[in-house]
């Protein structure tokens, strides 16, 4: 198992390096970070000097090597745009994103699981149809538009929640709903089909033949099997949410990693972009690893082969 974790870790590292070099090169070829550092109205002398000072005129590989060397020594560099240590910057923004991602996940789970389960228990009933139409509609609503409608409805027309920001728990209600809604269809469909599959499996028939029925059949026999794919999909969803919910964060003006990433892209703030990518990749890989481990714990076949 240690071997497995190490293999996955190595993979994550390789992915992170590939992706970060890709972005690094991309930004150097297409944008001028010196202008970002100098600012919109900066005179020419200033921009030139900055370019020289930061070494933007050196070959990309050399610059990348420099950056990588720093990272290996624990120095993620200083943001060109924010003139702040990238580590601090990310720490500040990560709080918002983590809170948002977790609460959105809770929203997803709270809506998708009960709906999916009740749909699977009564296929073709009104619950099933309700669940299915929820999924189809939620899939079709553009996320950003839903956010705008929520603001119009619940922040302005009926001022229940604040319009924007990330100061109090109230600020998180609407964004969590919007972000959470986006993964409801996938999770719900998976719960439904997964549970349906399990319920029609041979071992559930065996359990029925043994005299199991009702909630005991679901909880003591079916649920653990049905959970396996759900754990995986939730991990991926959480990973994507932690990877910066760009749209939600910008619609609700929340200072999370997603917006930081977008701003950094717009400003060619390469050290920040690079570090964020490292973090996103590692988060994602760690989460999927965690999901695999949870599944291994749930399912002896994965555990022991």
């Amino acid at each position: 198992m240690l071997n497995y974790v190490l293999r996955r870790g190595f993979m994550a590292l390789l992915v992170a390096l590939t992706v970060s070099f890709g972005t690094f090169a991309l930004f150097h070829f297409a944008t001028d970070p010196a202008q970002t550092i100098a600012g919109e109205d900066a005179p020419q002398e200033m921009v030139d000097e900055i370019r020289e000072q930061y070494g933007f005129d050196r070959p990309v590989l050399v610059q990348y090597g420099d950056w990588l060397g720093g990272v290996l020594q624990g120095d993620f560099g200083k943001s060109y745009f924010w003139k702040q240590q990238v580590v601090e910057l990310i720490q500040e923004h990560a709080k918002v994103t983590i809170l948002l991602a977790l609460s959105a996940l809770m929203v997803t789970v709270a809506i998708a699981l009960p709906l999916g389960i009740s749909a699977a228990l009564k296929p073709n009933s009104w619950v099933d149809r309700l669940a299915l139409s929820t999924a189809v509609s939620a899939q079709a609503i553009p996320n950003f538009w839903l956010g705008l409608m929520f603001i119009i409805l619940f922040a302005v027309t009926f001022p229940i929640f604040p319009v924007s920001g990330d100061a109090t728990w109230k600020h998180y209600v609407l964004p969590s709903l919007v972000l959470g809604a986006s993964s409801v269809p996938a999770v719900m469909r998976l719960t439904r089909t997964g549970l349906l599959d399990v319920l029609s499996s041979d071992y559930i028939r065996t359990a029925r033949a043994k005299g199991f029925m009702g909630y005991r059949l679901i909880l003591q026999q079916a649920m653990r099997n049905a959970l396996l794919p759900i754990v995986s999909v939730l991990a991926v969803q959480l990973g994507h949410k932690l990877g910066g919910s760009v749209v939600t964060e910008s619609v609700f003006s929340m200072n999370g990693l997603g917006r930081l990433a977008v701003e950094s892209i717009f400003n060619s703030d390469i050290p920040t972009v690079q570090s964020l990518i490292l973090i996103f990749v590692l988060t994602f890989v760690l989460l999927t690893l965690a999901a695999d481990l949870i599944n291994a714990w749930l399912d002896p076949r994965i555990r022991m082969g």
Binding site: Y203, T206, K210, G211, M213, R301, I302, G305
Partner: protein, 674 residues
């Protein structure tokens, strides 16, 4: 035996609504089972036998609809019991059930112990420890060694046979009065099948249970059942004691079915009887006799009027018009068979066309997410000759390496060492096209061996197109001719495999294999996925074609009755090695290797007067990843000695038979079979 009924079913029907129509899976059947008796329900796939079993405790799929005048179980009518009553009073408690697929019928995420004990704690007010005690006791009884430690194991750690034993133990936890076994051995190898059947028979006697045994295998039912009910198209067409039904079948279907079984009419019959057509779909209103369209004795009345149930004695009935006009009409190609036998010529051994020379094959396999790669020796220095014009049967249980060997012979798998040569050429050096012209396969599963996206014409003609043989019109002509050869009607030329029956598909697969005029055809279990009536058609076809086209067959199978029927020579495989190889008559009547002997013991021919023999083999087919030392067969061998455990046996030739066993010269087969 007491005469009190434990189960009395009257007029049971099951309907399953599908997209287009309602399927009448079971059509008003009546059954009666006495206490302590075993009832065998026999039928081909689609006959409704499993639905009948599920309907008793209402375990049918949610969409199915059940109706019955009464299902009287020990005095209480289950028709009127609600789900709750069934679950708390009957299921798992008074009626136990065993299913066909031991691989999927146990919950994969819970331990054996939990699955066993919960059956008891759910119904009875017992402590966990007591239930565990009972579980250990039962596991021991069903023949699982070291039962206490099994409790902590998970289903995937057990082999199919072991799982089926666990299933049986689970069904017995609450000492049910009735055990329903739905194809309990179909998914298992023959040696394991014999063990399980023997166990069931033993347990039933010991516990005084009644049993319903559902199977498609007439051999199995002949040995295990007291009474037999033959099902066809959702109806019971004939009932009676095993002896009566099998020795003196009344219904044309029963007769036909028996004719189809290789070996039923003697070992050397060249042609099998066969029932034309397949089971009609049971949708809409059914008029007349469901078997009428396939029945050689059918008269007009059979097609319009429902046949009457005729009573011959207590519990002895059949459902047939039994028209006098055709009473003496010979059925199911019996007379043809007589002719064919006369035509058969004694075979003289031809030249060797294919040589397998010390071929070994090793795979590397990773188990589980965290596991390490392990090597698996699939073939271990295999030597084999195939001679021109002969049928060489390759026999062995699943996992023995027969498929790997046949793939290696076809050149689809590179051996690690050794070589396969075809005439003068080594197969790996032959260009694909040339190899294809000399050797062609026919596979087990006609559902997966035909590309579902291509038409039958395309499929059969594809080898010609790939190898650019002939012009378009020549190819077309050849395809049509081949379709005629294999007995496919012209109109299926543009049909897709999904539109064909299993038998037709296998015919198409045969056509595809033969269109290149290959010398050798590798038949990899070509009939094991088919019903027995269809199997007979295909076996007949294969033999006809061999004579017509002068073919050589390598016939891979696990079914000794088929071997008996088809083969000129037999090679027996065990754990990647050929342990015995020789002429059919030699090998089957006078086996030199204890494994061959055990296989013969396990094969259950139709003999209602015999019961299931005590298994000659102990234990399970070993995991190829942990090969036993010495002779790989020694852990299961009844005559193994110290030498067998330590030294790999040397191959030797005894009476023209190749054998690999230290005890071959001293071992003699005590024939328990006929």
């Amino acid at each position: 035996m007491t005469t009190a009924s434990i189960l009395d079913i009257q007029d049971l029907s099951v309907e399953i609504p599908t997209d287009s129509a309602t399927l009448k899976a079971v059509r008003g059947i009546s059954l009666d089972l006495k206490r302590g008796e075993t009832l065998g329900i026999v039928g081909e796939s689609g006959s409704g036998k499993s639905m009948t079993a599920l309907a008793i405790m209402n375990l049918l799929p949610p969409s199915a609809r059940r109706a019955a005048a009464c299902i009287n179980f020990d005095g209480s009518d289950l028709t009127h019991s609600g789900e709750r009553e069934l679950a708390t009073k009957v299921r798992g408690q008074r009626i136990g059930m065993i299913f066909q697929e031991p691989m999927t019928s146990l919950n994969p995420v819970y331990s054996i112990g939990r699955q066993l004990t919960e059956t008891m704690t759910l119904h009875r007010n017992v402590s966990g420890a007591e239930a565990e005690q009972r579980a250990i006791q039962l596991l021991e009884k069903v023949g699982l060694p070291d039962p206490a430690s099994r409790l902590k194991q998970y289903p995937h750690e057990l082999s199919g046979g072991q799982r089926q034993r666990v299933m049986i133990a689970m069904a017995l936890m609450n000492e049910p009065e009735l055990l329903i076994a739905d194809e309990p051995t179909t998914a298992l190898d023959v040696t394991i099948q014999a063990q399980i059947l023997y166990l069931l028979q033993d347990l039933q006697k010991e516990l005084g249970m009644s049993m319903i045994l559902i199977t498609h295998d007439l051999g199995v039912v002949s040995r295990s059942a007291d009474k037999i009910a033959v099902m066809y198209a959702g109806d019971i067409v004939e009932t009676g004691t095993a002896e009566e039904v099998l020795r003196n079948p009344q219904h044309p279907y029963t007769q036909g079915l028996l004719e189809c079984v290789p070996g039923y009419r003697g070992n050397d019959a060249h042609r099998l009887g066969s029932i034309p057509g397949i089971v009609p779909s049971m949708t809409g209103t059914i008029r007349g006799c469901a078997f009428a369209s396939r029945c050689p004795r059918a008269v007009d009345a059979c097609k319009t009027d429902l046949p009457p149930r005729k009573q011959l004695g207590p519990g002895r009935t059949y459902v047939c018009h039994d028209p006098d006009a055709t009473r003496n009409q010979a059925t199911f190609g019996a007379e043809e068979a007589a002719n064919e036998v006369a035509v058969e010529l004694p075979k003289t051994p031809g030249d060797t066309v294919l040589t397998v020379d010390s071929v070994s094959c090793t795979f590397s396999v990773r188990r589980g997410l965290f596991g390490k790669r392990k090597s698996l020796k699939a073939l271990d220095t295999v030597n084999l000759d195939i001679r021109k014009g002969e049928v060489l049967a390759l026999v062995g249980e699943s996992g023995c390496g027969k498929t790997t060997l046949s793939r290696t012979i076809m050149g689809l798998q590179q051996p690690d060492t050794g070589s396969v040569s075809l005439g003068q050429h080594e197969i790996s050096t032959l260009p694909a096209g040339q190899r294809a012209r000399m050797i062609q396969p026919i596979f087990q599963d006609p559902y997966s061996s035909l590309n579902p996206r291509k038409t039958i014409g395309d499929i059969i003609g594809r080898p010609l197109v790939v190898n650019r043989i002939g012009s378009k019109s020549e190819q077309l002509a050849k395809v049509h001719k081949m379709m005629e050869h294999v007995g496919l009607p012209r109109r299926v030329f543009n049909s897709y495999p999904d539109q064909l029956s299993g038998g037709q598909r296998q015919r198409a697969a045969i056509g595809r294999a033969l269109i290149m005029d290959p010398e050798i055809v590798i038949c990899d279990e070509p009939t094991s996925a088919l019903d027995v009536s269809v199997q007979a058609q295909i076996l007949n076809l294969l033999l006809d074609l061999r004579d017509e086209l002068d073919l050589t067959y390598l016939f891979v199978t696990h079914d000794l009755s088929v071997v008996q029927h088809m083969a000129d020579r037999v090679a027996v495989m065990y754990l990647g090695e050929i342990v015995e190889c020789g002429d059919r008559s030699q090998v089957l009547s006078n086996p030199k290797h204890p494994y061959t002997s055990a296989l013969l013991d396990s094969a259950l021919s139709i003999s209602p007067d015999l019961s299931v023999p005590a298994p000659g083999l102990s234990g399970e087919f070993p995991n190829p990843m942990n090969r036993p030392s010495g002779c790989p067969f020694h852990p299961r061998c009844p005559v193994a000695e110290q030498q067998c455990r330590e030294e790999v046996p040397k191959p030797e030739i005894i009476d023209t038979t190749f054998v690999k066993c230290w005890k071959a010269r001293t071992f003699s087969h005590q024939a328990k079979h006929q």
